[in-house]
Amino acid sequence: MAYITKILFLIALVLGVGYFTYNIRKVISRIKLGQEVDTSDHKKQRWSNVVRIALGQSKMVVRPIAGLLHIVVYVGFIIINIEVLEIIIDGLFGTHRVLSFLGPVYDVLIGSFEILALLVLLGVIFFWTRRNIQKIKRFWAREMTSWPKNDANIILYFEMVLMILFLVMNAADLALQRGVAAGTFTSETASHYIQVGSYPVSQFIAFLFQGMSEGTLIVIERSAWWLHILGILVFLNYLYFSKHLHIILAFPNVYFGKVVPKGKFKNLDSVTNEVKLMMDPSADPYAAPPEGAETPAKFGASDVMDLSRIQLLNAYTCTECGRCTSECPANITGKKLSPRKIMMDTRDRLEEVGKNMEANGGEFKDDGKQLLDDYILREELWACTTCNACVEACPVSIDPLSIIMDMRQYLVMEQSAAPNELNVTMTNIENNSAPWPFNQMDRLNWKNEN
C-alpha cells in the first residue's frame, strides 16, 4: 500500500512539474518571437531594481493598503511553500514530517507557517472583497471582460483553499498527536503521529475533531495532505493560463525593465543610417545598396513579432492590476486608451500567434489579423500623451508606452496614417523647423519685443 502511494505521488509530481515546464518553454519560445535587444548594460542597477522593486515590492506600497496586504500574501505564500519541500520528501519516501528532526527550529517553522497562512487567508479575503463587494473601479474597466475577472477570483479561491487545507491538515495531525500521546490511539499508522511542531493557529480548529475516531482523523489528515499538494501542483500549472504568471516573471521582467530616464525613448538605428546617408553630401543616394546589406527594416510595430522580447515578456508579466490605467490621463478623462489593455492585447495576440505556429509546424500562417486594428485601435494609440504615468505606476516595471510608441511609428512611417493635424505639424517642422507655420527668420524677434 505504502508502495502504491509513493508511486502515485511520483506520478503526480512528474506530471505537475512536467506540464508546467512544457508550458514555460512555450512562453519562452513565444517571447523569442520578438526582436532581440541588448541588455548587457547597467548590470548593477538592474540587480538593485530586482531587489528593490521585485523582492522588496517598493512600487506596491505606493498604495499602502493593497501594497502591504500584497506583501503579506506574497511573503506568506513563498515561505509556506518551504513546507512543500517537506511534503515532497515525505511523499516520495513515505516518511512523515521528515524535517521534524530540526526540533525547536521545526516548531518555529511550523508555527510561523501557520501564522502566515492565517494572514494570507485574511489578506486574500480582503482582496476578494475589494474586487467583488467594494468593486474598485480599476477592476471593472472595459478590458476586464469575464475571463480576466474570473481569473482574478480563481486565484483568490485557490489560495484560500490551499491555506485552509494546510491548516486542516495540521489540525488533524495535532488531534492525532494528542491521541497518541494520551495513549488512546494505538494503531501502527497512528504511531507516525509523534508529537512535533507547534500549532498556534490550527490548535483552535483542532476542537472540531474532538471525539473523532483514529481512522477518521487519519483519513482527514491524509486527504488534506493530498489535496494540498495536488492543489499546489494544479495551481502551478494554472499560472501559465493566468495573470498569476507574474509571481515568476516579475523577477526577470524587473531585471530587463527600463534603466535609463523614463523620458529617453530609443533612437531607431535603421533610421539613423538612412538619415546620415541623406545628410552626407558625398553619398550617392542612387547608389545600389552594398552587397549583403540588410533589407530595410520595417519601421515600428504592427504585430507582436515587431515588438522586442522585453515588450513580449512585459505582456506575459502583466498582473492586470490596472494601476497604470488608473493613473493614465487619457483613460481618466474617458478616452478609449488603457495601458493595461495594451498589455493584455499584446499577450492575447502573442498567444494567438503562438498557437497558430504550433498548428502549422512552427511556421506562422497568415491569419489576416494583426495586433494593430484587430486588437489595439488607432484611436487608443493617438490618445496617449507620453506622460509616463503608466510606466511609473507599474509595480513590475512594465513599459506600455514603448508599445504605443512603436505602433505610432508604424502608422506614421509605414502608413503615413497620422491624424491630419499632426501631418500639418510635421510638415511645419519640416519646412519651418517649428511645429507652427512661423518663419524661421523670425525666431529671434522676441528679443526686440517688449
Partner: protein, 254 residues
C-alpha cells in the same frame, strides 16, 4: 552665438529658447523673464537665434522618427560646430530631448532645465530670490511630465518657490504621480480623442481645488493648457498661471 564665435569666445551657457519660447506669445514672456534673470545674475549666455530648429520632440512622439532624427542631426551639427558644452532651456521637452536623445546621435552636452539652472545660480549666490509680492500667497506647482517623471526632477522648482516664501500647497496628484496637462506626445497639436472631458480640464479642476491663487508651471505647453483650463472655468480674474521664472523676475520687479 555666431557673434561669440566670431570673437573667439565661449559663453558660459547656451540658452535654448525652443519653438514655443520663440514664437508663442505667452511663452515669449517666459523667455523674456528668464533672460532678465540671466542678465541680472550676470550670466554670460548666447542663443542660436535663427540657427535653432525644433528639437524634433513632437515629431518623435508622434512616431516620425525620420523627421526627429533629421532635426536632431541638424541641431547637433550647429551645436557641435559652435562647440557648445552647456545648454539651458525653459522647455522640459527640449530639455529631455537634448539631454537624453541627442547623445546617441552625437550630441553630448550638459543640459539643464531653467529651474535647475536658476537653482544653481541661487546656490552660488548669483541670483537673489525673494518673496516680494508672492510672500505668503497660496501657490500650487504643476509638475511637467518631461521634467518630473521623465527626468526625476521634482525639487528644483519647488526649492525656488519656497525661496519666494509662498505657501506651497500640493495637489493630490503631484511629483511622480502628477497628472499630465494633456499636451505631451504631440497632443498639443491635435484635437483630443473622444472622451468625457479634456485632460487639461481635469488637471485645472484639481489645481483650482487647492484654492491656490497662482498655478506655477515649468513648461510653456503646460502653461498654455492650464491657462486654457482656467479660462474654461472663468477664473482668469482670480487665478494666474505663471512660470517659475516669471514669478522670480516679477517678485523683484525686473
Amino acid at each position: 552665438m555666431a557673434e561669440y564665435m566670431a570673437q573667439g569666445k565661449q559663453p558660459e551657457v547656451l540658452f535654448w529658447v525652443g519653438c514655443a519660447g520663440s514664437f508663442d506669445d505667452r511663452a515669449k514672456k517666459i523667455t523674456k523673464a528668464f533672460v532678465k534673470l540671466l542678465h541680472n545674475a550676470k550670466v554670460d549666455f548666447a542663443v542660436l537665434g535663427t540657427e535653432e530648429g525644433c528639437t524634433g520632440d513632437p515629431a518623435k512622439r508622434a512616431g516620425n522618427e525620420f523627421l526627429f532624427q533629421m532635426q536632431a542631426m541638424m541641431n547637433i551639427e550647429v551645436l557641435n560646430g559652435y562647440e557648445v558644452k552647456k545648454i539651458v532651456t525653459a522647455c522640459p521637452h527640449c530639455f529631455n530631448t537634448i539631454k537624453n536623445e541627442y547623445p546617441g546621435l552625437g550630441g553630448n552636452y550638459e543640459v539643464m532645465h531653467h529651474t535647475q539652472f536658476l537653482k544653481s545660480l541661487l546656490d552660488e549666490g548669483r541670483l537673489k530670490v525673494e518673496g516680494g509680492k508672492f510672500k505668503g500667497k497660496k501657490i500650487t506647482f504643476h509638475d511637467p511630465c518631461y521634467l518630473g517623471r521623465a527626468n526625476n526632477e521634482y525639487e528644483a522648482p519647488r526649492d525656488l518657490l519656497r525661496k519666494l516664501e509662498v505657501e506651497l500647497t500640493e495637489m493630490k496628484r503631484c511629483k511622480s504621480r502628477g497628472l499630465c496637462c494633456g499636451a505631451g506626445g504631440a497632443q498639443m497639436f491635435k484635437e483630443p480623442e473622444p472622451g468625457k472631458k479634456d485632460v487639461n480640464i481635469e488637471r485645472t479642476e484639481e489645481a483650482l481645488g487647492t484654492n491656490a491663487k497662482i498655478i506655477a508651471a515649468g513648461c510653456p505647453f503646460c502653461n498654455t493648457m492650464m491657462t486654457d483650463g482656467v479660462k474654461n472655468f472663468e477664473k482668469e480674474g482670480e487665478v494666474a498661471v505663471m512660470d517659475v521664472a516669471e514669478m522670480i523676475a516679477n517678485a523683484q520687479d525686473l
